[in-house]
């Protein structure tokens, strides 16, 4: 802590440059990532770096809230949602509108340059009072925020609840499904399966007497015929199914009698 309020010591400078670069990198990564999960992680990086910058600027409360609420809660919620929706979903980054990307880059850069120049030259002219002066006005950082929230911004603070209610209710309205059909129980499902007339249980296994791959060999029914159901559909479709007369009698005998050569 220095007495001259405008001084910035080396440690602070190092923190600033490291965190600032990481924060901007995170933001760029968010925009440029193809996968939503990656984007979310990039945002988390930005958030954490911002939190560090807040703390370095004597705003510990804000820094902690940033970590707990944004990085901890909001971003994790994001990730959960993304997991549910499907991690693999990735957006195409191919631009279909002609000139859109070029114009966007140019205008973005233009706005950025204007802002950097403006803020830069504006801040040079602004006098600074130092962080301690800001915090000491109410006897500390947390007290300061508390004072503002419970006096000048009391109404607004209450009003934000309207935002939260609206958001929650909006999410309900857009996603909550009313069930108008009875939910089928296991018993119902089972009955339905038997009623459907399709073979209800497991299909018969293929013949087990083959020496190599028995999948193509049909099972023998008690009446001596074969069951087509025991051979998988693709094999049948390819015509690879073996018929009973193709089976080498010797082979069968060897297997059934269990004797070796």
């Amino acid at each position: 802590m220095t007495d001259t309020v405008t001084d910035v010591n080396t440690g602070e400078q190092v923190v600033f440059w490291v965190c600032a670069i990481l924060a901007v990198a995170g933001a760029l990564g968010m925009v440029l990532s193809r996968k939503a999960v990656h984007s979310a992680l990039w945002v988390a990086l930005t958030m954490i770096n911002l939190a560090i910058l807040y703390i370095a600027n004597s705003a510990p409360f804000l820094g902690m809230v940033q970590v707990i609420v944004y990085t901890g809660a909001v971003m994790m919620l994001f990730l959960f949602v993304l997991m549910v929706v499907g991690v693999d979903a990735s957006d195409s980054l191919i631009e279909t509108i002609k000139g859109q990307r070029l114009a966007a880059i140019l205008l973005g850069l233009g706005l950025g340059i204007l802002l950097v120049w403006g803020i830069g030259s504006g801040l040079v002219a602004s006098p600074t009072v130092g962080l301690d002066a800001a915090n000491d006005a109410y006897g500390g950082n947390v007290e300061g925020i508390a004072n503002l929230i419970f006096t000048r911004y009391l109404l607004v603070f209450e009003l934000t609840s309207a935002l939260l209610i609206t958001a929650a209710m909006g999410a309900m309205v857009l996603s909550h499904r009313d069930r108008w059909k009875e939910v089928a129980s296991q018993r119902d499902l089972s009955i339905a399966r038997f009623r459907s007339g399709v073979h209800p249980g497991n299909l018969p296994n293929p013949g087990v007497y083959a020496r190599h791959n028995a999948v193509d060999t049909p099972a023998i029914l008690p009446d001596g015929g074969t069951s087509d159901l025991s051979v998988p559909q693709p094999v049948r479709a390819r015509g690879d199914e073996r018929t009973l007369d193709q089976v080498d009698i010797d082979e069968v005998r060897q297997i059934t009698e269990g004797s070796g050569e």
Partner: protein, 631 residues
């Protein structure tokens, strides 16, 4: 300065002049089919009652001394905000008095005539409702005591005219004509609204009394600007160059409408506006000179178009344009001309209404055919129409002792007082008038019958011929009556001012010259159309004839200068501004077909380009502010 009299006695009923036809319009338009049976009669009654009230007021007004003939009635304060005030208030003075009489009396006659003319129309009730609405709006226009209320009437007559031009909406041409009239009139209205704004800024008020009281204190540049803007407004409403193109198309409306609105009253509102604003034009010399130029140019444009059209109504419309050109020119002359502009306006209102109604009567007998090449020899079968039309014909040409003679001659004489060139031009214009009116008269009533096979011309019913006769009597006597018995100059002088100027030529000489010119015109027409048979098919004609038939390419000029640029700008902006239009057309197709995938592609595409344009806007806004701040 004239005294402002409180509206007492009969003058406390000024509002009733307007309320009567307005109530008529309300009953007819809101009442619906229930009023079908008696509605048209009610329409006639309300206007007639206003006319009677107007006459009573005239008689009462004549009792007062000339300085005490301006009556002011304030109903309530209409708009009053931040130093700006406009009242719902009326002013009846000598100028508005003559307009009230013209509007209500000619209006009443035309209402009566319409009973016959529209008897077979299904929407007769609506027609009378619109006519009533028009009369009410026109009365607001001439009775207003401030420019803002005048503007209300101005828009009101525009609306009524628009509704009536498009009355026969089953004809696409009628709807198109209505639209055209509306668009061109809006251009004029720009002038009007800007003029009012400018007046408010300059004088802090828009009431006539307020503005005229301090008009001479403003700079001449400002007054010229106001004057030119008022002229633009007048050009739109009165179909003067360069906003003349709509009037010919407006003939798509029923003939009584053409007679009332597009000949006698509404189109003369521009003249009223200029005469009413005389205090401004007296000082604004540039504007006044421009008024004269516009008037003279229109005299010729109208006359040339009138000479070439074979459609009897369009030919008359050209003539109207030309005659209003005379009035506008006279109004531009300043105090030597205002009274004669109004004088000619009154006589023209009567004889041109008669001519139009006569044309309507002819069309009525000819199965609504308007082509003069298929008329001829109608004098034998339509004797009343023939005689009354003749009265109008002689009057418009300015043959003594018909009304037009007195009024037009005074204008020409006054024009000589200002400049010889103007006078000569107006005399030549009179000659052309003689030509086209004689041409029309011969082609319609004289010569050989060129009727189509299934046409059996017949005289119109009494309800139509009686107004014709009354208007013909007006055409004959009104000029004399106003000039010698009514002393029109002294009557109007307190309002618009009057001074006799020094004329380079004597009255007799100018009369002789103009009669000579008219005689030449008549002679040429006689030689061309009476001595030679009129072909049924229009001959190819010279380039001038062809140009005149095409209305001197006014439409094409408008098209190139106004319509096309607007249209292409709009198309271009749509393309530029929002490719989403096409996207949505495709998008809804995709929706119908259930191809939501296609839709989604458009959706994201556009949201990001919208965002892009927002960023672009933001950059510009930031840049603008930073630059302004830095400078």
């Amino acid at each position: 300065m004239t005294e402002l009299m409180p509206a007492e006695g009969v003058f406390s009923l000024i509002w009733l002049l307007i309320a009567l036809p307005l109530a008529g319009a309300a009953v007819l338009l809101v009442g619906g089919r229930r009023t079908n049976a008696w509605g048209p009669l009610l329409g006639v009654l309300t206007v007639s009652a206003s006319a009677v009230l107007g006459i009573v007021m005239l008689l009462q007004m004549m009792q007062n001394s000339p300085e005490q003939r301006t009556f002011d009635q304030t109903l309530f304060s209409w708009v009053f905000v931040g130093g700006f005030q406009a009242d719902m208030a009326f002013q009846l003075d000598q100028l508005s008095m003559v307009f009230v009489l013209l509007i209500t009396i000619v209006g009443a006659l035309i209402h009566v005539y319409s009973l016959g003319y529209m008897s077979h129309d299904r929407d007769k009730r609506k027609f009378f409702g619109y006519l009533n609405l028009f009369v009410a709006a026109m009365l607001i226009l001439v009775l207003a005591n401030n420019y803002l209320l005048l503007y209300v009437g101005w828009e009101g007559v525009g609306l009524a005219s628009y509704l009536l031009i498009g009355f026969w909406q089953h004809k696409p041409s009628a709807a198109a004509a209505a639209k055209k009239a509306f668009v061109i009139n809006r251009i004029g209205d720009v002038g009007m609204s800007l003029a009012i704004m400018l007046m408010f800024v300059t004088f802090g008020t828009v009431s006539f009394q307020g503005v005229f009281g301090v008009a001479d204190q403003a700079s001449e540049g400002t007054l010229n600007a106001i004057g030119l803007l008022l002229l633009l407004a007048a050009c739109g409403k009165s179909a003067q160059f360069p906003l003349q193109a709509w009037l010919l198309d407006a003939m798509e409306g029923p003939t009584p409408v053409s007679a009332l609105i597009h000949a006698a009253t509404m189109v003369t509102a521009g003249v009223y506006l200029i005469a009413r604003s005389n205090a401004i034009f007296d000082v604004a010399t540039v504007a006044a000179t421009t008024v004269v130029v516009v008037g003279v140019v229109t005299v010729f444009i109208g006359a040339i178009i009138g000479s070439a059209k074979d459609d009897i109504k369009k030919s008359l419309a050209g003539s109207t344009m030309s005659q209003i050109g005379y009035m506008i020119a006279a109004a531009g002359l300043g105090p030597i001309g205002y009274v004669f502009a109004i004088f000619h306006l009154l006589t023209h209102g009567v004889f041109k209404a008669g001519l139009f109604l006569g044309a309507g009567s002819v069309m009525h007998g000819m199965n609504d055919n308007v082509d003069m090449r298929r008329y001829g020899a109608l004098r034998k079968v339509m004797i009343v129409t023939y005689v009354t039309f003749a009265a109008g014909w002689l009057s418009i040409m300015g043959i003594p002792p018909f009304s037009g003679f007195f009024s037009k001659d005074e204008i020409i004489h006054a024009a000589f007082e200002q400049s010889v060139l103007t006078g000569v031009l107006l005399i030549i214009g009179a000659g052309v008038t003689g030509f086209y009116m004689t041409r029309m008269f011969i082609m319609t009533f004289l010569g050989k019958a060129r009727w189509e096979d299934d046409v059996h011309p017949h005289e119109s019913p009494k309800v139509m011929t009686v107004p014709l006769v009354l208007l013909a009597i007006g055409s004959l006597f009104l000029g004399m009556a106003l000039l010698y018995w009514g002393n029109i100059e002294t009557w109007l002088e307190p309002v618009v001012g009057y001074e006799a100027g020094e004329s380079p030529i004597s009255t007799t000489a100018s009369i002789a010259l103009s009669l000579l010119a008219v005689g030449l015109g008549v002679l040429v027409a006689y030689l061309m159309y009476q001595r030679r048979a009129v072909p049924i098919e229009a001959p190819h004609g010279s380039w001038l004839t062809r140009a005149a038939r095409n209305e001197l390419y006014g439409n094409e000029v408008n098209d190139v200068l106004v319509v096309q640029p607007t249209y292409y700008t709009s198309r271009w902006l749509v393309w530029f501004d929002n490719k989403g239009v096409d996207g949505f057309v495709n998008g809804s197709a995709a929706f119908v077909g259930g191809l939501s995938g296609r839709m989604r592609r458009y959706q994201t595409g556009f949201a990001r380009s919208y965002a892009l344009s927002m960023v672009g806007g933001a950059v510009l806004v930031v840049l603008a502010l930073v630059l302004v701040r830095a400078s």
